[in-house]
Point group: D2
Chain length 105, copies 4
């Protein structure tokens, strides 16, 4: 089962600056070989269900290992059986109709 | 690694009434032997990470098998290494200080 | 426009114990006269859109005033035009079919 | 109070294809003059609290007016008092440390 996820992990108890922890998660996700893209409020990830959720678990383990005693994570997660759809397809299904402004790169 | 999750699964493409699908998910979670409680906008689940996320995957599989072609799910997920905390502890840490109104039962 | 919301506010930069901040938010919501109920991973709130979101803004203001330099909040928010539905109705539409375990009180 | 939001609106009861509704929301947000960027699982929006949440309310009104009887929305919402931070700053605080892959544009 293929899944598209939006992951937003918030370390708690380590002060206000959390970017080092997000960098570590990006590395975990990249090392898993998963398609992903960072935006201003999370990271989109695409892949097989088991691979994606194994990577999310490793993100929690990595952030705890860095010293964060508590983690709060939000996951949006979409599956569909009617057809294949990639992250890029989802964005294009909107921008092709609207000229919507996409995330900067 | 113990986790407390708030799960909110939304089947798409099956009309506005979704309670049959939520009932099916409740059964999946109960069959997994996981501590859980339903509220008006989701279900809290408590357990070992792998057990909880295996149950969430089975919820997606069950809802697709019932005919929903597309599913959108929100998961809030908390882990901590500083101490053990149950769902009941979390509620009581607030209500003991405030007399806050708890979910009806 | 009536709305049912699930609110989960996380103060950042104030350590791992956040219950005092949640207690303050419960008071803001109660003072607004909004129907609400606490669960282990948030608070369900029911009311008119403008009243509910004004209260959520006041929660942010109150938590910042208590000293939290940063806040991360999750909101699930449902509206419908086909019929009236309360938080209690939502829970009962599931429990009446399943005997699901509801949140403790 | 400045806010950065991640908005994900899901119309329910209108079938599996929801891109027309997302296009309508993009137009509402653009017409409000708010900085925003679309990604594969939502739209980041930046602005004053009242302006951003007024636009989100108009999105719900617009999507109901298009015929969706029910809407489920997820909002992640961040405020901070310690310093100003834009959506672009948030992405750059991570990418400058990691070479993380950003959302395509």
């Amino acid at each position: 089962m293929k899944v598209i996820v939006d992951l937003c992990l918030v370390p708690i108890g380590v002060g206000v600056s959390v970017s080092d922890y997000i960098v570590a998660c990006q590395k975990v996700i990249a090392d898993a070989g998963l398609e992903h893209s960072l935006h201003a409020y999370g990271t989109n990830i695409e892949g097989e269900w088991d691979d994606v959720f194994a990577a999310i678990k490793r993100c929690h383990e990595a952030v705890h290992a860095m010293g964060a005693p508590r983690i709060h994570t939000n996951i949006k997660c979409g599956t569909r059986t009617d057809r294949e759809q990639s992250m890029r397809d989802k964005v294009e299904s909107v921008t092709s109709k609207s000229g919507a402004r996409k995330a900067p790169s």
